[in-house]
């Protein structure tokens, strides 16, 4: 196993950092450490927050011996077994790439010198890896591993874009859970909710899984939206090949 750095984060958390890059191999180490620590249930350890290249480990200082905790975390970090990671899941995200639901699609096509259909194909025919969640509840940071777009953010961020927007730059694509300001280009809109507080587990996605955007037409969009409102819609989820 390659090196890692363990840091104190204040008096009630530790961070284990792996190589300083955003990549699938590095993030898989974070996922492996997350799963190892979640499985061994060290007394006093609270929430575990996986991010691109680091795992944040919250602990209760009143119930934890810091030396014992550090030793246990180091033991786990030094013996990560990436071969034992469970098969990654893929969740299908239905996307309407059309009209006011895809405000910037034509502009994207123009920038990339491709047709709208080609852009939709690029966006919907790659699996996107969920590196982490954050920014807003349920908000995934996802990226595809091939064929990045050439553009970054828009020159002027929008003050508010609607929840459900699918926004893109380079190889990145995010689902916006709630209305928010945003400077990315809107390629489409999904009728599913990345965060639905009515549910016992409100969050659609988790770090370390994949998503696949599936083009849908307007009637399907409206039908799925109706089912989502009734709390009846479930995204198709399956194990990733390979």
């Amino acid at each position: 196993m390659d090196g890692y750095t363990l840091r104190y984060v204040g008096d009630q958390a530790l961070s284990v950092e792996f190589e300083e890059e955003i990549s699938l191999p590095v993030n898989r180490k974070v996922t492996a450490l997350y799963q190892a620590l979640a499985a061994c249930r060290i007394p006093g350890v609270g929430e575990l927050v996986p991010t691109y290249r680091a795992l944040l480990i919250h602990y209760d200082a009143l119930r934890t011996d810091l030396k014992a905790l550090t030793a246990a975390v180091e033991r786990c970090a030094a013996h990560l077994d990436l071969t034992k990671l469970p098969k990654a899941l893929v969740t299908e995200i239905p996307v309407l790439y059309e009209g006011e639901y895809a405000m910037d699609l034509e502009e994207i096509a123009r920038i990339e010198n491709k047709t709208v259909e080609e852009i939709i194909r690029i966006h919907s025919q790659s699996d996107y890896y969920v590196y982490m969640l954050g920014f807003a509840p349920g908000h995934p940071y996802t990226a595809r591993m091939e064929h990045p777009f050439s553009f970054k953010r828009r020159a002027e961020p929008r003050v508010k874009i609607p929840g459900g927007s699918i926004v893109v730059q380079l190889a990145l694509s995010d689902i916006i859970p709630f209305d928010q300001p945003c400077g990315w280009n809107i390629i489409g809109t999904t009728p599913v909710l990345a965060c639905d507080y009515r549910k016992e587990n409100p969050f659609l996605l988790q770090a370390g899984q994949w998503i696949r955007h599936v083009p849908i037409d307007k009637p399907t969009f409206l039908e799925i939206k109706r089912q989502v409102e009734l709390g009846e819609y479930r995204c198709r989820t399956y194990e990733k090949e390979g």
Binding site: Y8, D11, Q12, L56
Partner: protein, 343 residues
């Protein structure tokens, strides 16, 4: 039945100990900005420390009670008035249906708390009753209280035992210049030696951008080795971010769960309440301590709370057994029982 909000104050929210378990999905815990004052308010009225109560900011609300209960007000000093009469801070007192409690303005500090025996009847969402204003969820309809809102009590108590014990001598920190202790890191190596020195010797002023998410400070510019950007990683409450411009931001209860700015240091847990009592214009000087010292201070704070809890709930001294005498007068036998008076 509970109370109706007659005037909402500046920013009054339902809080509890916090919503934990969802940080990896992007949801920060929220909860009280001055956890210690919050917990003391609950202890005074016999609640679990993390029970739901109200957090008030700068100007408290006016409440009209629709049911009797026992309440306690703590935190930043206010001049609360019950039906126009002064009533105490840091002491439990009873209220009756029809009473009007005007909490008034803080006389220093920023945030005060009022706890109600038995807690507040708002729905539990994801295991918590606290309001996450940024996420518009939890507490009372996911928002700050407004005029006319009515909140019920879950299990009010018209009276509690040992009312005389339900008080605490306590002042929150309201000095205009406060020392806040920090543990350096996690990214202190992204700053120059001079940058760290600047941070630990400079005086930083709280700007008008201070809310439940964070507290922006203004003061001497802190120098990075390169810039203030990192690959986004996890965040804790009390993290002090320093973006490239070199001005620190203390991340608080409703912070984001991840962030892409360098974090020079983290406020120790024992001093977070003091940050929660800061408002615009207050000044902060940071002092670095080792993590072991931070833990010692946290344990000390915990022992003080436990002592308060024990003092309130200490058992009654054993009642003195009555003494029984037999006396025979003129051939008739009487029993006489004597019980010693308390006073």
């Amino acid at each position: 039945m509970g109370f109706v909000v007659e005037q909402p104050g500046v920013l009054t929210t339902v809080q509890d100990g916090g919503r934990f378990g969802y940080e990896r999905f992007g949801m920060s815990p929220s909860g009280p900005m001055d956890l210690t004052s919050f917990e003391i308010a609950n202890l005074l009225v016999g609640n679990r420390r993390e029970e739901s109560a109200l957090e008030m900011t700068i100007l408290g609300p006016t409440l009209r009670f629709t049911a009797a209960n026992v309440v306690a007000v703590t935190g930043a000093p206010l001049k609360p008035k019950l039906n126009g009469e002064d009533c105490p801070m840091n002491r439990a007192f009873p209220v009756s249906a029809g009473d009007e409690l005007a909490l008034g303005a803080v006389q220093g500090g920023c945030r005060s708390y009022i706890a109600f025996a038995g807690g507040l009847d708002v729905p539990e969402i994801m295991g918590s009753r606290c309001t996450a204003l940024q996420n518009k969820v939890g507490g009372f309809q996911g928002r700050r209280l407004a005029k006319g809102d009515a909140i019920g009590f879950r299990s009010p108590a018209a009276a509690l035992p040992h009312m005389e014990r339900r008080h605490v001598e306590r002042q929150v920190e309201t000095a205009p210049l406060r020392e806040i202790r920090v543990v350096l890191g996690p990214q202190e190596d992204r700053f120059t030696r001079e940058g760290i020195d600047t941070f630990l010797t400079g005086v930083y002023t709280v700007t008008k951008d201070f809310d439940r998410m964070g507290c922006r400070l203004e003061g001497p510019v802190i120098a990075h080795r390169e810039d203030g950007n990192i690959i986004s990683d996890g965040m804790v409450t009390g993290a002090i971010q320093v973006p490239t411009a070199g001005q620190p931001i203390i991340m608080l209860a409703e912070r984001q769960t991840v962030g892409g700015y360098t974090k020079i240091a983290t406020v120790i847990t024992a001093d977070l309440p003091a940050v929660g009592q800061c408002k615009a214009g207050d000044q902060i000087r940071f002092r670095a301590v080792e993590v072991e010292e931070a833990h010692r201070l946290l344990r000390q704070q915990e022992e003080e709370l436990k002592a308060l809890e024990a003092a309130i709930h200490a058992p009654e001294p054993a009642a003195k057994a009555p003494r029984c005498y037999r006396a025979t007068v003129n051939g008739l036998t009487f029993t006489i029982t004597l019980t010693e008076c308390d006073d």
